[in-house]
Symmetry: C2
Subunit: 196 residues, 2 copies
């Protein structure tokens, strides 16, 4: 996390807040005799925003895939969280969310979590090299009940195990706070010659 | 299978072929002294084409979801087959198919297979009532190797078990004939009050 501390007058602060908001940068201001600003650079960056450009085209989570879901995952303590609002056409039976979309959200949420967990395990920031990128070895989803297609879904993940190049991640999908699906992904660190 | 046999002159055959093509009806012609036509009504209808209209909106397989994948599944002996060509934006890592799409294809292929298998088990045609429609209880996918995003994928399914309202279906995804993913779905016959 890059952290800068400075003292500015109000008008400068206003401009700074505008720029910060535009770039998704966290900003906290304290007022004393003058105004202190703490800019937490990168604090709002999602796991997926750290993927190398050539690996950021995934339909589910690639920030460069303009036709994809572009999910964003963040730490929330020891858990990870993604929020996603299905489109009306992402339906299964009318009124409910398509199970394939739920599987897709779990998939990308968990591979993102795996990468973030591996950085944490190595006590490294996510903007340091070499970059971690995980692919899916296996995916399992239990559909607990129909998931209403009515607003934002929350996907919460937790690392179950790290062993070698594999990270096992559990995830729960919640609709209005109610768990509707549970998943588990065995994520595998992408080999150098992936697909060769 | 409805089957009609008739004798027509060439101009009639030409008109008939046009109508048949428009409606996706199989047509075989034999020429002798006159022309015989065998029209296999319904022979080209996919499992999904028998879903009741109110249950045909699924993003993966609903024939009425114009923004969805609209997959079509057919019997091939004891196996079932779906063919689907991913769009360029359905990418994972560049050059390969998105795992979430693969999971989605397996999901809908297997629920469709479950419905067809239940009709077969009851020795009923798929256009008879009551209609069968299955939802996904659980989905498991093992990604064997990266799936090239280069042309048509084939998903082949086989019924593993029918017990009560559950049908367990296994599926394999093949790219240019090479298995790249294996899946298993526990499909559950949709209850009357689904989602209530």
């Amino acid at each position: 996390m890059d952290c800068a501390k400075a003292s500015y007058d109000w008008p400068v602060l206003a401009i700074g807040m505008g720029i910060a908001a535009e770039h998704g940068i966290g900003l906290i201001a304290f007022q004393a005799q003058s105004i202190f600003i703490l800019i937490f650079g990168d604090s709002m960056k999602a796991f997926q925003d750290y993927y190398p450009e050539n690996l950021a085209h995934c339909y589910g989570c690639g920030s460069l895939n303009t036709l994809g879901h572009q999910i964003k995952t963040y730490w929330d303590g020891e858990e990870t969280v993604t929020r996603f609002t299905p489109e009306p056409h992402h339906t299964a039976i009318p009124g409910f969310t398509y199970g394939g979309l739920i599987a897709s959200l779990i998939d990308c949420h968990c591979t993102g979590t795996a990468a973030a967990a591996m950085y944490r395990a190595e006590n490294r920031e996510m903007d340091t090299l070499p970059a971690f990128r995980f692919v899916t070895g296996s995916l399992h989803v239990d559909y607990l009940k129909p998931t209403p297609i009515a607003g934002e879904l929350e996907i919460r993940g937790r690392v179950k195990e790290i062993k070698g190049r594999k990270v096992i991640v559990e995830a729960t999908v919640l609709a209005a706070g109610v768990p509707t699906a549970r998943g588990e992904v065995v994520a595998v660190q992408m080999p150098e010659g992936f697909g060769a």
